[in-house]
Symmetry: C2
């Protein structure tokens, strides 16, 4: 019997889509690591009745563990502690030691930012109210998280800012009520297979064949296509683990060359590993800095990332990447020839071992019958081999073309670094 | 009496956080435009019972309109049509005209991608099953959306890929069942005020004062702090509109210099407008391309964006941005002096009117007692004035520092372009 959990993300700004929620995905990962099954996520505005209904929904759905994020701040629309207290039937009480602790933290901010002391004291006291019998966590920011037993369920109340939520979570899992829930969690094994360059329907056929040949009962399989990568997640309880391995073997047999990861690593991690201490420089046009931005997302990126040029104009391609004027005249900025010159130019200008370039038409304007919106050319130069160059047509809107181009560029580089054959 | 709606986002890949949902925010905007109140969003995996429970939750919560996204694909875990049919009590029936239409669409793909025809036919028929009495929309991709009357509610079933969802939505709002819901929707006016550079607690105090002075009943006010920007959304029914305007006036009086938008425009839109046809070039270190990436996010960015250099190493700062070696030696890469040289160098190398630079320590490593992680220096050069330079300490993890730095850089440039005073 597995333990189910529900996440309740609060805040009108998240509900309305003005702010992207980063806490749900992070908490989902933590739950998966603990072997807890995530049943539902709800996003709910700052209305007490709606938050109460979301908690009740999670109870009806059999969630032993409910985690809320947000609504612990100083403003009047921050209502989570009160609603959870009502839900658990545990009235709010002032925790004086906690009030003092928050006071000390806020005093530091107040000095730094010269804030109004009266506004602060109201905020301060509001954040020190704790449901009777609940565990108050040590504040990471100013708002303390709470672990609230609620008639057989446990509600973990976390602050909304990601850094505070993550620090509070680390404390919450160590509390007695949380540990009691963990004792019942299932031991799951999860395998993630990632592929690049095949359509989802071919994978679906492979899974149907595997089902016919040796059955897939006992496995939970989800597939997902994003930015041209196809991800298959296989979850198995311990007794179904050999079957999961058999399926991975089958995927290798049928789709071997398309598989780039079976150990959970991402393309970003593969690139970092393959480069090691070799340096990479990039030249980008339509991706406008997103390729460099993605490569520098990882801590320690300076070990392998030398730098990049965003050359939006032809002049910049000539001036900063040394693309010959005639090449631009003859083939146009979006061409295999110019991509190759950009890749070589980037490597040269930055003194890097490898150069990676993207030039294309992200749209919505700028397309021609000959070179439609979505046409993107890629080149990976260096390593003593010939430069690898590809032009493809990427479907979708401007954002899709830009995002997808970054991923395609990374895979082109990976294939070059792995020394395998690059599909046409 | 306002109309409430609920969104049900399906897909284990979204629930698990491996894929970021872009449909919820987009649909939330569309509902707000139509004056429909979004009550809840739920994210649910590919389990029929969980999807059914989410639909039931929305019914209990009084949602006249329920919108689902995802789960219409060809694979076996795509179950939305079946679950919605059961929920509405309308059995699935094969729509032969639709099957033929999908067949035609798929045949085009199949030729292009050389797909297996047998796998396609199964997928094809599955996607042509329509609940009895429901309206099937014309497929934008291969999966047709559905508008399903369900005992007084209307369930709009949309495909998951954003482009397909958006195209299907445009059709869905024109159907008879959807129009019937719209007739009851409230006419809301919404005003968005955006500020930069003040703490949330000061705004909270201003709102409390306004409440005391003239009352804010009848207004729905939400505030949200992100990346250093503070956003206040005020929603009012027509009779409360003058009160909303009174509040906006009060905000102007108290926080005038911090307000950068009252017409819904974002900092990105302000920058685009202020630049017009003047050109901007950027030099970035710790943001690693994200600043250029954000500036090129908008269609038509080439009108004002000349290009950028991502100079991760000191050599690159010297070589590509012309930062003097002595300056790096004397002040270090993260310094006001180097930021200024980078901004001027970027403008010069790209022949741009303005140069904007960011250099800092994003962490987690690289900090010193003197220059801690989060220290970031910014410079905005050009326009004939002195270069504006600021160094600040940004709290949070690597991603926070990088994201926030992009926003701070844009505001520094805005203040320069507006010609107002730049706060210390």
């Amino acid at each position: 019997m597995s333990v189910r959990a529900g996440l309740v993300i609060t805040g009108t700004e998240v509900l309305s889509g003005r702010v992207q929620d980063r806490n749900g995905p992070w908490l989902a990962d933590r739950l998966a690591e603990l072997g807890i099954e995530l049943a539902h996520v709800t996003i709910t505005g700052d209305r007490p009745a709606d938050l109460g209904a979301a908690l009740q929904f999670m109870r009806n759905e059999g969630a032993r563990l409910v985690i809320t994020s947000g609504g612990l701040g100083p403003t009047a629309d921050d209502l989570t502690a009160q609603v959870v207290a009502d839900f658990a039937g545990r009235p709010l009480q002032l925790d004086e030691a906690l009030e003092q602790r928050i006071g000390e933290i806020i005093a530091r901010f107040a000095r730094r930012w010269r804030l109004d002391p009266e506004a602060l004291q109201i905020a301060n006291r509001k954040q020190a109210m704790v449901p009777e019998g609940a565990v108050a966590l040590d504040p990471v920011g100013t708002a303390p998280g709470l672990v609230v037993p609620a008639n057989g369920q446990v509600v973990v109340v976390l602050p909304g800012p990601p850094r505070e939520l993550q620090g509070s979570w680390a404390q919450a899992v160590e509390t007695d009520p949380f540990r009691a829930v963990l004792e019942d969690a299932t031991d799951y094994r999860q395998t993630t297979v990632r592929m690049f360059g095949i359509p989802e329907s071919e994978l679906a056929q492979t899974l149907r064949d595997a089902e016919d040949d040796f059955g897939l009962g006992g496995l939970e399989i989800t597939t997902c296509l994003r930015r041209g990568e196809l991800e298959i997640v296989i979850r198995a309880e311990p007794e179904s683990e050999p079957l999961a391995q058999q399926l991975v073997e089958r995927l290798r047999e049928v789709h071997g060359p398309s598989i780039f990861s079976t150990d959970g690593s991402t393309i970003d991690e593969r690139i970092a590993k393959l480069l090691g201490e070799q340096k990479l420089a990039v030249g980008e046009s339509c991706t406008g800095g997103l390729l460099a931005g993605r490569l520098t997302d990882r801590p320690g990126a300076s070990a392998y990332f030398a730098g990049g040029v965003v050359s939006y104009s032809n002049e910049a391609k000539e001036e900063l990447l040394g693309v010959p004027h005639e090449l631009l005249e003859e083939h146009g900025a979006v061409s295999a020839e110019v991509a190759e010159a950009m890749a070589k130019g980037a490597a040269e200008r930055f003194g890097a071992d490898y150069g990676l370039a993207v030039t294309g038409i992200a749209g919505p304007d700028g397309g021609t019958p000959d070179k439609p919106v979505g046409r993107v050319c890629f080149a990976a130069a260096g390593g003593g081999d010939e430069t690898t160059v590809r032009c493809i047509d990427i479907p979708g809107a401007r954002q899709d073309v830009r995002d997808r181009s970054v991923t395609v560029a990374l895979h082109l580089l990976r294939l070059k670094l792995e020394g395998g054959e690059v599909p046409g």
